[in-house]
Symmetry: C2
Subunit: 98 residues, 2 copies
DNA sequence: TCGCTGTTTAGCTAAACATCGAAATAGGAG
DNA sequence: CTCCTATTTCGATGTTTAGCTAAACAGCGA
């Protein structure tokens, strides 16, 4: 839980999660969206992985990142309830396009 | 918004918010709940203030901290919606006792 | 095997952070 | 005015973090 909030503390990492909302994406594609080196991005990915906010799948030479929605949801709802904030999950999350 | 998530990244600060759920509390009382120095706690308070997660009221010599529920709610809902998580606020938050 | 692409590791610097004890500030009570 | 209590600020220290470049690693296709 702590790791989740630590992971969320960085704007780049939050943006990665947003990009992943649209669907799984390779590390390279993700990295292409940010003005930092690939090595730096890889470190961000590691933090997200440690927090279980994403998981990975290898497809040949590339690594595909998936958003783990439920982990984020649990963290947000957990904190919300701890501070007495009445938040509820509206609906199971499917693949939706904006 | 970034400041809010940075503030939430520390477990001590999250605990402070939880304590404040029960109602306003003085800096001294809050500090009494944690095994760190008052100076350290004061620094944590400053971070929470900068994020507008709490605000203060002076009563003579003591400083009373209040939880700013709406700021936290906005941050959590904002992120949730950014990643396509369907969270909704259940009800306006009143003063409730557990 | 060689070379290409994508990803991670290694080694580093600079900045940010958590923490402390001690000193400074601000009100209230004598 | 002086003292006491509550809180914050100051200066210092050790740890963590984001960032870089360069090197290493892992598959793929020829």
């Amino acid at each position: 839980m702590n790791r989740v909030f630590k992971a969320l503390a960085d704007p780049t990492r939050r943006s990665v999660l947003e990009l992943l909302r649209e669907g799984p994406m390779s590390a390279g594609d993700l990295a292409g969206h940010f003005p930092v080196s690939k090595a730096t991005m890889s470190a961000h990915f590691a933090v997200l992985r440690e927090a279980s906010l994403v998981d990975t799948e290898k497809q040949g030479t590339t690594v595909i990142y998936h958003l783990q929605v439920s982990v984020l949801e649990d963290a947000l709802l957990g904190l919300a309830s701890a501070v007495g904030l009445g938040l509820t999950s509206k609906q199971p999350v499917k693949g939706e396009k904006s």
